[in-house]
């Protein structure tokens, strides 16, 4: 295996006496889609800002694209990374071309290379509109894709996407993730945060953060298997009157809209309670979703 593209060892970031990130370690391989999950304020954005060279680490070792973070090296790192955040992507008042020109200018790209690469990227996202279209007039999904192109203009090894699909329509989100998959297949390393659990399923590995700590790091499949060693059931009430069963029989009992997700404590409990529940609920066995995992791990213990 080649050297990891991102390597973080014992990273801590503190603001005054408050630790936004506490002693986290992980590494990301080339071509990986690395998901970063956690509630707001869990330390995701702080970590990304360190990795982009925006924020100095208080303690620990960080290297990106084979370059160790040392003071004065910010620019070397900035050339290796692309960054796109949900908060801001493109200047609304400027046209697509002007936004791209700007990005090329502040990165000092050679004009010919830049124009060729811009066309390749726009073809890649299937951009059909005129380059002179003002960004304000683009649909949300397209705007996000153009922003992705902009962050790829300097051909970075790794791209940090901070909630890139927030507020984008589901169909456009699906398209966007297809693009991410293609980029990873082409050898780009993708580092992404998201609030959408269905999106997180597309990641190769997922890191879960809570209160500045890295509490889980594994593939979505392994996370599910690890978190739920027993079968999970979906229970839909048959009648209007819901009679809640004795919750001591379960390790998981979470309401999901009209139904519940439940996992029994042990075989004995399952054997005893399940037949009785079938009278009041429609019951089917399901694969746990990442959302179940997320609730279980990130929020479950803290409550």
């Amino acid at each position: 295996m080649s050297a990891p593209v991102v390597e973080v060892k014992n990273l801590s970031v503190c603001f005054g006496r408050f630790y936004a990130v506490k002693n986290i370690s992980f590494s990301v391989a080339k071509g990986e889609i690395f998901g970063f999950l956690g509630a707001n304020g869990a330390g995701k954005t702080t970590t990304i800002r360190v990795l982009c060279g925006l924020l100095p680490a208080s303690e620990g070792y960080v290297s990106v694209g084979g370059i160790e973070f040392l003071p004065g090296r910010e620019n070397l790192i900035k050339q290796k990374v692309g960054y796109m955040s949900q908060r801001f992507t493109l200047y609304d008042e400027l046209s697509v071309k002007e936004n791209m020109d700007f990005a090329a200018g502040i990165r000092r790209l050679k004009k010919a290379d830049y124009e060729k690469h811009r066309q390749e990227l726009l073809d890649f996202i299937g951009f059909k509109q005129k380059l002179s279209t003002v960004v304000r007039d683009l649909p949300g999904g397209i705007k996000q894709e153009v922003a992705l192109c902009q962050s790829l203009l300097h051909d970075p090894e790794i791209i940090f996407l901070d909630e890139p699909t927030a507020g984008v329509a589901p169909a456009a989100r699906f398209r966007f993730w297809q693009l991410i998959g293609k980029l990873a297949a082409a050898g780009k390393t993708i580092f992404v945060t998201t609030h959408y659990m269905d999106e997180a399923e597309n990641c190769g590995r997922i890191a879960l953060m809570r209160s500045g700590e890295l509490i889980e790091l594994d593939s979505p499949q392994n996370l599910k298997a690890k978190t739920f060693s027993r079968r999970m059931y979906s229970l839909t009430p048959k009648g209007r009157d819901e009679i809640l069963p004795d919750l001591r029989a379960f390790t998981v009992w979470e309401p999901y809209g009209q139904h519940y997700h439940a996992v029994f404590k042990d075989d004995a409990a399952e054997k005893e309670v399940l037949p009785r529940l079938k009278k009041i609920f429609h019951i089917e066995e399901i694969n746990p979703s990442l959302e179940d995992v997320f609730i279980r791990i990130v929020e479950g213990d803290g409550r």
């Binding site: 200047y91 700007f102 990005a103």
Partner: protein, 373 residues
């Protein structure tokens, strides 16, 4: 690592330039507003008082009393009109139909001719402080003129000697000549501080600053690139004031363009840095506007000598006014329009503005670094 790349700074500048030219608000603020301000302030700021309505009652009705009233009337400063009783005149002053009232006592001529120095009463509207000192000045002149007129003597003979006054630099004591050169300071303050503070706050507010900082562009390049269009706009504001002064208000220009332009550029630089500093400490457009008004515009208008002369302020305010570059700029600007002093005469204001520029720029760079962390 390159600290400053012209290419990157130019990219920021081009982007900002497009923002400015696509935003009608910015353009109006930067170009139309200066013009309106010159017209309004140029026409309204009038320290000279003319055509003061003067009610008078003449209890003497002699040739001498008529000559006295005539002297008032021919002075341009007063417009006398007769009222029947002192009460009526008094009522006119109360209702502001008249600014002043003149009461000539009976036997005015008789006492005057017998050298008994009769008293003539003048009532002035003391509630209106702005015109009162001008009016009392005129009264002294009119007094002498009237005495000569009544005695029917040429002015030379009445006194043993006479002051022959000539007003240097502004022979007609035109108050516009005095006020308009200062307007440029107010306009540059408006454009430079306000717009700069807004534009950088906007980058923070919409989160684009973070995107910028994730690229190799340095803070110095961001500042230079972003400030340059506003420097140009501020300079346009200055040109507008200059042209209005020369073409509309017929101000002379006695001084050196090199001196005035140097001072203007230095002053613009000072205020861009101040605007930048405001945007760094506030981070929000709304807060920035308040800061800009409080530490930018108000002191520029009030404590710069633009409206209130600095030498008559309490000493503490004189010191405070020295904190703001506007005071020094207005000093140079007035001087260059009317008096034309040399570099040597103006070294104090130039040095002061230069020191202020260095302090402000260092403060900006220092604060900007700290904010990122």
């Amino acid at each position: 690592m390159t600290i400053f790349s012209r290419r990157r700074a130019r990219a920021v500048f081009l982007k900002e330039f497009k923002h400015v030219f696509r935003d009608p608000f910015t353009l109006i603020m930067a170009l139309l507003l200066p013009f309106l301000i010159v017209l309004i302030l140029g026409n309204c700021i009038e320290f000279n008082v003319q055509s003061i309505d003067l009610a008078y009652t003449d209890h003497d009705r002699s040739e001498s009393s008529r000559k006295l009233v005539e002297t008032f009337g021919s002075s341009d400063y007063f417009r006398p009109y007769m009222v029947e009783t002192p009460e009526q005149g008094f009522a006119d002053v109360v209702s502001e139909h008249a600014k002043a009232m003149l009461i000539i006592p009976p036997d005015f001529e008789k006492e005057f001719m017998t050298n008994r120095n009769p008293d003539v009463q003048i009532l002035l509207d003391g509630a209106d402080n702005s015109s009162i000192s001008a009016i009392s000045n005129y009264l002294n002149t009119i007094n002498t003129t009237a005495v000569n007129k009544i005695r029917d003597m040429p002015p030379e003979d009445s006194n043993l000697f006479a002051f022959k006054t000539r007003y240097m630099f502004n022979p007609e004591l035109n108050s516009r000549w005095f006020s308009i050169p200062g307007i440029a300071a107010v306009i540059i303050a408006l454009v430079a501080i306000m717009l700069t503070a807004l534009t950088i706050c906007k980058e923070w507010e919409q989160g684009s600053m973070e995107m910028l900082l994730s690229t190799p562009v340095t803070s110095l390049e961001i500042m230079v690139g972003k400030l340059f269009p506003y420097a140009v706009l501020s300079f346009c504001g200055f040109i507008i004031v200059y042209l209005a002064a020369r073409l509309i208000f017929n101000l002379p220009f006695a001084g050196s363009y090199t001196i005035l332009l140097s001072a203007t550029l230095l002053f613009i630089f000072d205020y861009l840095a101040l605007g930048l500093y405001i945007s760094i400490i506030s981070h929000e457009q709304q807060v920035a506007v308040q800061y800009a008004a409080a530490i930018g515009l108000l002191p520029t208008a009030m404590l710069s000598g633009f409206i209130f002369p600095i030498q008559y302020m309490p000493e503490i305010f004189q010191w405070i006014s020295a904190l703001f570059p506007a005071r020094f700029y207005i000093e140079i600007s007035r001087d260059q329009f009317l008096k034309a002093s040399s570099w040597g005469d103006l070294w104090i204001p130039f040095t002061a503005m230069f020191v202020q520029a260095i302090i402000l720029m260092s403060a900006c760079l220092w604060r900007f670094r700290r904010t990122l962390e």
